[in-house]
């Protein structure tokens, strides 16, 4: 559904995107991660047809997103909140239903469905300007989804919304993919990327440094066994080659198999058991994968 092929985008001397390739199939969710300025918004703007790449090619359902006809199948919610405050919630959503070619009862049905999906049913007649920030963000997303697009592009859809609304929006992203839409969304919240069970693409300084499932990204990364003691952490008698770091009262063992090696570590700590306050066994997380990918890219750039 979305095919980004070796795309480069420059703003003057600044290279916002450097040879990025990415694809999103129907029914798939791709979470786009990266620090501020990593190129997430630039990439999504190119996908939405707002800008032209300097090099490379972008296709949405086989067409150029710069063409209005191609964008009929695209639903885009930019990072900046975009609603018309003077008119009602229903009118805001209906505008984009009609622009996509829906009319009459078909348009009304889609407006109601999008509003329902975003929990807006009871505020349809209220002016958008009267809503809270979180409610406006829901309207903002509904305007992108009302025409049932084949490709959904959401740039930080959960920015500035409360926890419940965030959970709803992330659940909605999953629902959209389950109904066959291709979804790409950017976020700073790694937990959201983990929650949607899709692929994760990590951008760093304009380059894509990782693109896989959470499981694949974390598979070869070390997890942690953390032991907290009363007083200073003791020195444990562990086999050579095991990565152990003692810092104050906490002793951290890094290993790719934390669950399997937890018993061995606890056995080694048995003589200090009376001082042991807590044990945490944690597999590698997306945060570890994110930091590893961006640090590796940084190290390569420095070298």
């Amino acid at each position: 559904m979305l095919d980004v092929d070796n795309v480069t985008k420059r703003y003057g001397d600044i290279v916002a995107l450097d040879g990025v390739s990415l694809s999103v199939a129907s029914g798939e969710v791709v979470s786009l991660l990266g620090a501020n300025g990593a190129g997430k918004t630039s990439l999504l703007a190119l996908v939405a047809g707002l800008r032209r790449p300097d090099d490379g090619r972008i296709e949405v359902a086989g067409g150029d997103p710069r063409r209005a006809e191609t964008r009929r199948g695209l639903g885009f919610a930019p990072q900046e909140l975009g609603v018309y405050p003077l008119i009602s919630v229903a009118s805001n959503i209906r505008l984009f239903a009609e622009i996509s070619g829906l009319r009459g009862e078909a348009a009304q049905g889609r407006v109601e469905a999008a509003a329902h999906a975003l929990g807006l049913d009871r505020m349809m007649d209220r002016r958008a300007g009267e809503l809270s920030g979180g409610e406006r963000r829901r309207v903002h997303v509904a305007m992108a989804l009302v025409h049932d697009p084949k490709l959904v592009v959401l740039d930080e859809p959960t920015a500035g919304v409360d926890l419940a609304a965030r959970a709803d929006l992330i659940r909605l992203v999953g629902d959209l993919a389950a109904r066959g839409a291709a979804v790409i969304f950017s976020t700073h919240y790694l937990a959201e990327a983990e929650a949607v069970h899709g692929r994760v693409a990590i951008l760093h300084r304009g380059a894509k440094v990782a693109d896989s499932t959470v499981r694949s990204l974390t598979r070869d990364l070390p997890g942690r066994i953390e032991l907290e003691f009363a007083g200073d952490a003791p020195t444990l008698n562990l086999p050579a080659g095991i990565d152990v770091v003692a810092e104050g009262s906490v002793l951290t063992v890094r290993t790719t198999e934390p669950e399997r090696q937890a018993a061995m570590v606890l056995s080694a700590a048995s003589e200090h058991m009376v001082r042991l306050r807590s044990v945490q066994v944690r597999a590698a997380s997306l945060e570890d994968a994110y930091l590893a990918a961006t640090h590796e890219a940084l190290a390569e750039a420095v070298l």
């Binding site: 703007a45 939405a48 047809g49 707002l50 800008r51 209005a68 006809e69 964008r71 009929r72 695209l74 885009f76 919610a77 930019p78 900046e80 909140l81 975009g82 609603v83 018309y84 405050p85 003077l86 008119i87 009118s91 505008l95 984009f96 009609e98 622009i99 996509s100 070619g101 009319r103 305007m143 992108a144 025409h147 592009v153």
Partner: protein, 255 residues
């Protein structure tokens, strides 16, 4: 076409929310018209129209001047999309750039046309204005005037990045254009130096067209030149707008 109709409906909805502004754009000139008519009667009689009642200058004068107050509304119609954060999402919609522009300008063109029609209707019915020339010629001048107003508005949007800049250009431009273009004073009574620069303003050609119809009993052929000049201004403004306008350009501080 579907997209165009959708945007038209939306723009009329927004215009409906700003109705007091538009009512003011018709009521204010009517008030000004009442005050100016006696003075214009004297001025026109002095300029060689012994039967003039003043409405022949007062009605088109305020119609021309206040039509240019819509220039700011045209520019703001585009700029407000940046303020609302909706510009990029409109550009990412199924509407083409031309559908977006025409969708926004269409309702404003109708609004400007209704303003002209309302002012002339009041002039004919209430101010004793007499149509000596061709009604079609009058309509041609009005349509060309509306085109130049829309062109100037779009140009203003392309060169201004804040609402305050637009307000300043609109106020100074409208007053200067109206004064130098002959909306306040019959061109024949203006100082020679001013008469020399008057043709540089679209207001001058609009006033010349209206006066040709109302005072000199002109027909369509008599207003072709002023109409062509107004359309020329519209084209010039639109060309500058196209050359200057960058749809990707952010307007971060629209206030």
């Amino acid at each position: 076409m579907t997209q165009l109709v959708a945007i038209w409906r939306h723009e009329f909805r927004i215009i409906g929310r700003q109705l007091p502004v538009l009512i003011g754009a018709v009521v204010m000139p009517l008030v000004v018209m009442v005050f100016l008519q006696p003075t214009f009667r004297l001025a026109l009689r002095q300029a060689g129209y012994p039967d003039a009642n003043g409405a022949e200058q007062a009605v088109p004068g305020v119609a021309v001047m206040f039509s240019f107050f819509l220039v700011g509304i045209v520019a703001l119609t585009f700029l407000r999309e940046h303020g609302f954060g909706t510009w990029d999402r409109l550009r990412a919609s199924a509407a083409s750039p031309w559908q977006l522009i025409l969708g926004k300008l269409g309702p404003l063109a109708i609004t400007a046309g209704v303003q002209q029609a309302a002012l002339f209707a009041v002039g004919f019915i209430g101010a004793g204005l007499v149509l000596n020339g061709s009604a079609i010629a009058l309509v041609c001048v009005a349509l060309a005037l509306v085109a130049s107003v829309l062109g100037l508005g779009v140009m203003l949007f392309s060169i201004c990045s804040t609402q305050q800049q637009i307000a300043l250009f609109q106020l100074v431009g409208t007053l200067a254009g109206a004064g130098l273009g002959g909306a306040f004073t019959p061109a024949s009574l203006m100082p020679t130096a001013v008469r020399f620069i008057s043709p540089a303003f679209p207001t001058y050609w609009a006033m010349r067209g209206y006066r040709t119809v109302l005072l000199d009993a002109g027909g369509v052929s008599d207003v072709l030149f002023p109409v062509a000049m107004l359309l020329g201004f519209a084209t010039l403004f639109a060309t500058i707008a196209v050359l200057r306008f960058r749809s990707e350009e952010p307007r971060p501080s629209w206030w």
